[in-house]
Amino acid sequence: MAIMPLQMLAGAAKEYSAEMDAKKQRAADILLAQQKYLMESGIAKIKAIRDARKESEARINKAVSFEFDRKAALALEMSGQLESIITRLTKLDEDPEKDISKQAVKKMSKAILENVPPEKLAQAMEYALDSGAAEEVTAEKLINAIFSATTPEEIGKVANTMGDISGGEGLPSVGPFGLNLISLTEFTPEKKAQAEKLIERQLAPLLGFGGMTNEGGRTVFNWTNPSAAGRIVSKALEYYTERRADPYLDVDIGDITDDITNKVNSLLLGGATLDQIATQYDFSTNTADFNVEPISTGNENENNISNTSTKLTPPSLQKDSFIDNFMIKD
């Protein structure tokens, strides 16, 4: 009676042992196959990861050579924009007719750093510092790590010889910055003169254009109200220069002149005179926020709005204008 349960127990124990041996064998097989894979193709994959990191580091160094702040370069790398900026700057650098404005690069760096959350930047810095350790790891060392070490402790030692085994905590992502790459180029006097001409041409129908004359090979615009027109053009150029240097300019550079024209047109439509625009308007403000103040004529008793300026009718307010057609008439 007592032998039967013992036999059953022995049978169960034998079966358990066989089952456990099979499981151990499966585990061993998995580990062996994994080791084989690491040897055959894993190295190439890991190399690709390292190469990507090295390229990233090289881009950051290149940006620093263009006077970018290292942290700003890192922030750009995080956003995935550094590569295109480096390409652009390299082209500019190679072009003898174009110069990179170091001052603008510094301004851009500052603007970028002001827009990156400090904790993300700290994470990125940690990543950058740690990524250096990975460069020392070679395929040869990797092979040694797989096959020369005989115990986990030894493997650990081998890993230590490769450098600091504590990896980084990853490169955090930040949104694209929407950077204005034109701001990185010098706004030379020649370019400034070109921009001035462009503004004059676009504003000509609004500023009382009185034809052009050639003065010593230079085209000069004549205005019916030269002082007001000259001042508006000068203010517009100032605004253009400021916008062009804005690292975060989110419009095409050509849109700045359109913006200027639209603003002048809108002010004239609102009833402002050229003198009022010239003396009181700042192009960086919205036309809707512009309150026209009467210009003193010297005859305070009449309390009239200035009529010394040339009052022009903007093209959009002339006969058959769009607005006229849509005015509700009693």
Partner: protein, 189 residues
Amino acid sequence: MIFDGPIPGQSLTKTPRNAPYERPPEITDPNEAVLWHMNRLSDPERLDNLLFSLEFGLPIKHATQAALTTAVARGIHNIDVSLIIAPVIHKYLKVTAEQAGINYIEDFKNAEIAEEEKRNRVNLLLQKAMKETPEDERDAGFEMLGDFAKATPTMDIEQETTGDIPEEVEDVASQIKEKPQSRGLMSRG
């Protein structure tokens, strides 16, 4: 924000046993569960992505938690089995990373980081590893990282995955510690 949570009794409006984790688990034997994870994680398609994420800085502790949480969510094994096998999976990932010679960390350096911040970091690292995976290599391993990322909001980020290997899984775990076969380049001659 307080209205974001489920209302009392909301769970009763769902079909019972609809979620995989509400049904009996597929594996109840911890040894089988270890083998299931090892088999899955050593698959070349998945191993690449796993190593990739570890190289990117995903701590082994959180990679282990993510793998276990994903398995529980899929109804492979239950949370009790997760607790038993966690040290084995942690060790397995660590030895794999060492064999591959990659730089890895076992846990975030700053232990004082808040739970939510840790969760965000883990998610960020997984997203980054996924983003950096070339289009033509977006295979089962890429999907696995996606599953890990999905598991981050629900995983117990503070759960320890290191410690003594429980008796139940000692035999299979011993294989992970075993000496690699001495047939390498350095053993010649």
